[in-house]
């Protein structure tokens, strides 16, 4: 955050003195200290105990992106716009770069590199209903999978948000319900109290999403040309509150739906929101199985999130991974043992293969429609691999997605142009997206427990005894299913052994190692009582040595100011 501040992000800053905030629907006065005046402010977000989310008014992500882009231009870093990687060049153990298609001219170019990084974001568009941008198709993740060597971790872990506006899927904030908004069904009935008599609309994000889908499943959704939805009713909050406290919601409703939320109900439905899974990497961001391939951000499975994700951690990961993994990539490239003799025959081979695939799409006599396959895939994912998952639905999803994958090898184009050609792009992308969809669906089918955002109705309990392990997917040749393997987690090294995480039912099956480690952690804490938090951290889970050298060491805080000694 400090680096971004130095680069120009206009972080919201602390104003000393009193201000009013709402905590648990109660107005509370907070007094900021004089010595905090002008430092980067942090707010409550995403249900965490500590107020720890830095923000820029109502446009945090945009402001961060703008500043990083400015700095890249200032550093004369070239950006090749409107090009996309469609395959990685590799020999089965090392990655040598990528085959890249120019989306305007259609030309294929081989980019040859010592280190290749994938930072293509999530794969929300394998679902019909998603808050993600149109380009979040997971192609970067998919080309890593298509190497047959790199592994994808935890692809079945997908987060859903309760209130995407319908049908566009654009997010409206949880604040609507926090402030007293209600969810209603086709009959105008407020249904949440029927399911959650205590917390009603304010139950946790995953619980509300599940209840909404359950209610639609009972035929209580509102029919429309684009499918079914429910209503979010904030009319009871009044015009003043909506136009001031919920200004962004008001504007979204106005611009995208022509709905006036002061008078009208807002059509909503839970929407896919975040891809926890991705290219499996070690702490440096490098794939454990394909040397020279790195991944960062939502495209990676870097273990920042596990099977769920906290609010604010997504933008945090983009810049934190950018900083840490970026540093490791630079180190990697500097090390003499990572010099490469580029095998040009291999590079040409990949170029020819990819050109042949595109030629086959353009010249072939295929009869399937890429758009139709894509729509069907999105429909299956949203209806069968969504919030509620059941063994039989997942089995049928896996079955049909495999059929679609086979069909996708027979796509025919109506528009046979090599350059800018949206139909061609859909065709080769859907072939890749289907593989990701299968990793999600098959992984979800195989994981017979519920964990974080992955909820199996037929296996509602978290089962650490059998499933405290990371899913690893690889893809072999012309298979129609990923090959799954599982990597157990070592509880003996955990700072916080698995327990109840403060939400959901306290109903899970413990791993046999958990009580032992929990006792160890407790004993260590008692033994070190009175020592600094750094000493406790070092004893429980030392991590400093895993950071790049330049990022090791402590950070000054307002309550932990450096003396001259500590600053060294």
């Amino acid at each position: 955050m400090r680096e971004l501040a130095a680069w120009g992000v206009p972080w919201s800053r602390i104003q000393q003195g009193d201000r009013e905030v709402i905590i648990n629907s109660q107005k509370v006065t907070i007094t900021e200290r004089a010595e905090a005046q002008g430092l980067v402010a942090q707010r409550d977000f995403g249900g965490t105990k500590k107020w720890r989310t830095c923000y820029v008014s109502d446009g945090t992500g945009h402001a961060m992106l703008q500043t990083v882009s400015d700095q890249a231009i200032g550093a004369s870093i070239p950006v090749h716009e409107r090009t996309e990687a469609i395959a990685l060049i590799h020999d089965g153990s090392r990655c040598y770069g990528a085959i890249v298609r120019n989306l305007i001219t259609g030309e294929l170019v081989a980019y040859v590199a010592k280190a290749t990084a994938i930072a293509t974001g999530g794969a929300g568009r394998i679902y019909r209903v998603t808050t993600n941008a149109v380009i979040c198709e997971g192609i970067g993740t998919a080309i890593a999978l298509e190497t047959g060597v790199a592994t994808l971790g935890n692809m079945e872990a997908v987060q859903f948000h309760p209130t995407g506006i319908f049908p566009a899927g654009i997010l409206v904030t949880e604040g609507c319900r926090g402030d007293g908004g209600l969810l209603r069904d086709v009959d105008g009935h407020r249904f949440m109290p029927d399911y959650e008599p205590e917390k009603k609309e304010l139950a946790s994000r995953d619980v509300v999403s599940r209840r909404m889908e359950e209610h639609i499943g009972k035929g209580k959704g509102v029919q429309s040309r684009f499918g079914e939805h429910l209503w979010l009713d904030i009319t009871l909050l009044g015009e003043r509150h909506i136009k001031h406290n919920l200004r962004e919601v008001y504007e979204i409703c106005q611009h995208f739906m022509g709905v006036d939320p002061v008078k009208d109900w807002i059509p909503v439905r839970p929407a896919q929101h975040y891809t926890m899974g991705g290219v499996r990497t070690d702490h440096t961001g490098e794939s454990a199985t394909l040397k020279g391939l790195f991944a960062a951000g939502e495209a990676a499975c870097w273990d920042m999130h596990g099977f769920n994700r906290l609010g604010g951690n997504s933008v945090a990961e983009t810049v934190v991974a950018g900083m840490i993994v970026g540093e490791f990539i630079a180190d990697y490239c500097d090390r003499p043992e990572n010099e490469v003799d580029v095998p040009m025959g291999l590079v040409h081979g990949f170029l020819r293969t990819e050109q042949a695939k595109i030629d086959a799409l353009i010249n072939g006599r295929g009869s399937e429609s890429g758009d139709a396959i894509r729509q069907r895939m999105q429909e299956i994912m949203t209806s069968k691999v969504g919030i509620f998952r059941r063994g039989e639905d997942l089995a049928s999803a896996v079955e049909e997605l495999q059929q679609l994958l086979v069909k996708s090898r027979n796509i025919g184009l109506r528009y046979k142009v090599r350059g800018a050609n949206p139909e061609l792009v859909t065709a080769y992308r859907v072939q890749k997206m289907l593989k990701l969809a299968l990793c999600v669906a098959y992984g979800a089918h195989t994981r017979t427990e519920s964990r974080g955002a992955h909820f199996r109705q037929d296996f509602p309990r978290r089962n650490d005894a059998e499933w405290l392990k990371r899913t690893l997917a690889t893809w072999k040749g012309d298979d129609t299913l990923p090959t799954l393997a599982y990597e157990p987690l070592d509880i003996g090294r955990m700072e916080l052994p698995p327990g109840w995480r403060g939400y959901g039912a306290k109903d899970y099956i413990d791993h046999p190692d958990t009580p032992k480690r929990a006792a160890e952690v407790e004993a260590l804490k008692q033994q070190l009582a009175g020592q600094s938090r750094f000493a406790v951290q070092e004893a429980l889970l030392p991590y400093a040595a895993k950071l790049p050298k330049s990022l090791q060491g402590r950070n000054e805080r307002i309550d932990e100011m450096f003396t001259n000694e500590a600053a060294k």
């Binding site: 400090r2 945009h62 200032g74 305007i104 941008a133 105008g188 040309r225 758009d371 060491g553 402590r554």
Partner: protein
Amino acid sequence: MTDTAVQAAHTADAAPVAHRRLRFNILRYNPQDTGSVPRMQTYELEEADGMTLFIALNEIKEKQDPSLQYDFVCRAGICGSCGMLINGRPTLACRTLTKNLDAEITLAPLPFFELIGDLSVDTGKWMRGMSERLEGWLHAKGPEPDLRRLEERMDPAVADQVYELDRCIECGCCVAGCGTARMREDFVGAVGLNRVARFKIDPRDRRSDEDYYEVIGDDDGVFGCMSMLACHDVCPKNLPLATQIAFMRRKMVAIGWKK
């Protein structure tokens, strides 16, 4: 209102209404294709409730014409990719509702920018060039700070003012609507002048008014503006462009006077 009354009101709303038949006249041209000539092409489509141009164009591409080129990325009004001329006015297509338009809708690519094809233009290339010319990045004071120490303090009100100008999404609508840009291809546009104003009010930037005069103190900069201010009228983010241009011009005149 009771639940039942609300329900009645909404049930009445939900009664099926006849949807309009929309006619889209779209300027088609693919400069990559030597056989392509600019032409208007018409597509018809049944309107739906809550239909935006994002939904309509996707439906045309998927069901009628797979060759149609256009750009959408965030489809939520924050990325600036989908600027186009809608009935002659530059604006964002993703958040334009068809119900606010007549049944006959004319779409054309943003003028001024390099055409990629049909409704798709290369704003990115121009924005990068503009940013390079204006040095549109923070020029920090002093050496690189020690990131382990507390960050430099900033007045909360100033941070908010910088953010107000940082809200620009570089969609290009201001330049597409600009009279000066028609005549001067190197004009930096309201987007460029706003960018400079953003760094000028940022206390972290070391540049002086003399430095800014070097990059915008001519007819391709702030003195090229003819104050017709279409930029201000069409800005989808309602940025205070008229005020920023006037502000920068006042500052730059003061410098020019001294020279």
